[in-house]
């Protein structure tokens, strides 16, 4: 995609981003549920993946989501200090920071990965945060990756 | 930093050692042996290969010092070699003290170069560890440090007094009889260790040391007291580093950025105060005022240092300002320099 095409896409709203959202069960996923229950609609761009805790998402899994063609990846966990598993969201934040650095070396915009903190009661904020993220991704344009690369073979001993 | 508590120490007896002027054949040694207050200067070789740059600096030092150091890739910046520049300076009538670091040469190169230097007539040597190459203009260079400055002193002593190469082989025709010097930084850390390090250098083989620039008289007096108590000053000629400040900025730079340098507030204040009545735009007048004050302070310091027990001389380091050495030496009452027959 060249720059001109991207602008055209954004203007015509024909670019519908694919955003993967790793959401922790206790907070972010519950917030999404609350939004749904409250009939607050949010972008169909967001593909939610439920995790027991954002600490479960490794840097590798975040990166693989982008490799497979996601235009953006968000990791959404509990508010700082309230993680159900104490430090899971802190570790997740750390990993997102690391992935953002890697994205720069790879040639992708670091803004395509984001850490979001939200509590179970924050249905409206869930929508607000993710709407904002989707807008950011729309501005960045589609991922330049083909989405066709990936592991074809792994063998291992340990 | 915790204070380190060292046990008491006295220098081992060295009454069997030859008097300094008999160990070697250097004018500086004769000055020191005669009990004269020695004056040494410093010449920084050029970055290029023009001998005239050495000669013009040498002329500024002529007749105001007993000998002058020729630095060796100082601050790890490549310059004309100390030995070559030393020989050019010698032809102008100034006795060289060549410097050699452990950073750039292994023991083979050191011994070879020093045999050569001696053959060319050079008689004084300062043995240094050397500034780390990371602070210079070739930071990617491999450093050598085959031996350290202490081992270097010992090697030179054994070459001279036992006519042996470092490997133990005899040197045909006898070893080079240098006056052997080391460097000392009274203000580096660990502070309590520094007098002991000086003692160790004397034991290793140093005939004399030159200290880093001294601006803090109080601290220096304390250091000299410990040095004298240990008996070091009787076995080692201690020549104290002094240097005129060029500006208040230079004073602050030395205080803040040079490892192991302390510059008391009183001196910073004097340097700042001397331009208080001069317009900040009037650069020539400000510079002249600073330089005049810098020289005044240097002269006062030399006079104070002469009174300290254990001090054998001063080493005037007028960095890139060799013109200042003569007026300083003159006003401090150090001229004319003694003429001592070989």
């Amino acid at each position: 995609m060249n720059a001109e095409e991207k602008t055209l896409d954004v203007a015509n709203e024909t670019f519908v981003p694919e955003v993967v959202a790793f959401c922790c069960r206790h907070c972010a996923y519950s917030a999404a549920d609350l939004a749904g229950g409250g009939r607050i609609s949010y972008s169909p761009s967001i593909k939610i993946v439920e995790l027991p805790c954002t600490g479960r998402a490794s840097a590798l899994e975040i990166l693989h989501a982008l490799e497979k063609g996601a235009d953006g990846v968000a990791v959404a966990g509990c508010l700082p200090g309230t993680c159900h598993y104490i430090r899971g969201n802190t570790q997740a934040k750390h990993r997102v920071t690391h992935v953002r650095k890697l994205l720069k070396t790879i040639g992708l915009e670091e803004e395509r990965a984001r850490m979001i903190n939200i509590s179970a009661a924050m249905g409206a904020q869930f929508v607000a945060e993710f709407t904002n993220f989707v807008e950011t991704i729309k501005t960045l344009g589609p991922s330049p990756l083909s989405g066709e690369t990936g592991i074809t073979r792994t063998g291992s001993q340990p | 930093m915790n204070t380190m508590n060292f046990p008491a120490f006295t220098m081992p007896d060295n009454s069997a050692a030859l008097p300094i002027a008999e160990r070697c054949d250097s004018h500086l040694a004769r000055v020191l042996a005669a009990g004269e207050f020695a004056v040494t200067g410093e010449l920084g070789p050029p970055k290029g290969h023009d001998p005239e740059e050495v000669r013009s600096k040498a002329r500024l030092l002529l007749d105001c010092v007993d000998a002058a150091n020729v630095t060796d890739n100082q601050a790890a910046v490549v310059r004309m070699s100390s030995i070559a520049a030393g020989q050019i300076m010698m032809a102008e009538g100034v006795e060289p003290i060549i410097q050699m670091t452990c950073r750039d040469r292994n023991r083979l190169a050191m011994q070879a170069d020093l045999l050569g230097a001696y053959a060319l007539g050079i008689r004084n040597l300062l043995c240094l560890s050397g500034d780390h190459q990371s602070c210079g203009n070739h930071p990617g260079a491999k450093n050598v440090h085959d031996i350290d400055s202490m081992q270097f002193l010992r090697m030179m002593k054994e070459m001279r007094d036992e006519n042996k190469f470092q490997c133990g082989e005899e040197i045909p025709g006898g070893g080079p009889r240098f006056l052997i010097g080391g460097a000392a930084n009274p203000f580096a850390d660990p502070a309590e260790w520094r007098p002991y390090r000086l003692a160790k250098k004397a034991i290793a083989g140093a005939d004399f040391v030159q200290t880093q620039l001294v601006y803090d008289m109080e601290r220096f007096r304390e250091y000299m007291k410990r040095v004298v108590d240990m008996g070091v000053a009787e076995q080692l000629k201690i020549i104290v580093g002094v240097g005129p400040l060029k500006s208040a900025g230079m004073a602050k730079f030395m205080r803040d950025r040079i490892p192991g340098m302390t510059v008391p507030d009183a001196i910073i204040d004097r340097m700042a105060g001397t331009v208080a009545d001069i317009d900040t735009e009037n650069k020539p007048e400000r510079n002249a005022a600073w330089k005049a004050e810098g020289i005044r302070i240097c002269i006062e310091q030399i006079q104070e240092i002469r009174e300290i027990e254990g001090v054998a001389g001063v080493h005037i380091m007028a960095i890139e300002w060799e013109e200042a050495v003569h007026p300083i030496a003159e006003a401090a009452g150090l001229l004319p320099r003694p003429i001592i027959e070989a």
Binding site: - | F6, M150, Q151
Partner: protein
């Protein structure tokens, strides 16, 4: 343990020029422990390379695998059967691992993804410090357990130089003056006499300087008659 770190991505990418299909091989021992070449690092590096070369318009196919210890040929042997399809092997092993693969598979180019730095100490999780340079003649009993060869940038043997300030080395504000630590240790351990001793010039022939080094242990070697 051996401590290594990954080369910058661009440097590794440059090595892959001309390759279409590469096998990344990690190692489960030292470099896994210092998070440079273990399973996760193989995954992150391989994905980064696939994505980056894809963006460049010339995607390189990177497969991933890991062996227990890349310096031991028994662990590497199973790889042989699959090497045909690859243009090169990208090793995430230490320098020894890279060379072992090169020796074992001489028909294949082995590319080093890591820079092996030193034998080091994990000062804290995520920080490793040089502790040993393999000089071949250990004098730690004399220096209160601190190595002057690896920890002093000038490898001094007789006390700190004039650049030691506040316990910090003149070369780097983050580096302790090793000799400051040695002095403290020597005093505490009653080694003052050692401090005043002129430690003689080191014999560097036991280090890299003496030539390529090799250790032969006859008590451990399998006698010729028992070899297959």
């Amino acid at each position: 343990m051996i401590v290594a770190e990954q080369k910058p991505l661009n440097e590794i990418k440059a090595m892959l020029e001309g390759c279409n299909k590469v096998l990344a091989v990690g190692c489960g021992t030292c470099v896994a422990v210092c998070f440079a070449g273990g399973r996760q690092e193989v995954g992150l590096l391989s994905a980064s390379l696939r994505m980056s070369t894809d963006i460049d318009g010339a995607a390189v196919d990177i497969d991933e695998t890991i062996v227990q210890r890349q310096c031991e040929k028994e662990y590497n042997a199973p790889l042989e059967a699959e090497l045909e399809q690859y243009d090169a092997i990208l090793s995430l092993g230490c320098g020894v691992g890279v060379q072992s693969l090169a020796q074992q598979f001489p028909g294949k180019r082995i590319l080093p993804a890591l820079n092996t730095k030193f034998m080091g100490y994990p000062a804290e999780h995520g920080i490793w410090e040089d502790r040993c340079q393999g000089c071949g003649n250990c004098v730690l009993h004399l220096t209160g357990g601190v190595c002057p060869v690896s920890r002093c940038p000038k490898s001094l043997f007789n006390g700190p130089c004039g650049g030691s300030q506040g316990g910090i080395c003149e070369v780097d504000q983050e580096t302790e003056c090793a000799w400051n630590v040695i002095c403290e240790n020597q005093l505490r351990l009653g080694l003052f006499d050692e401090m005043m001793e002129i430690h003689p010039a080191k014999d560097w022939s036991s280090a890299r300087d003496g030539g390529h080094r090799r250790i032969v242990r006859e008590d451990v070697r399998i006698p010729d008659e028992e070899k297959a």
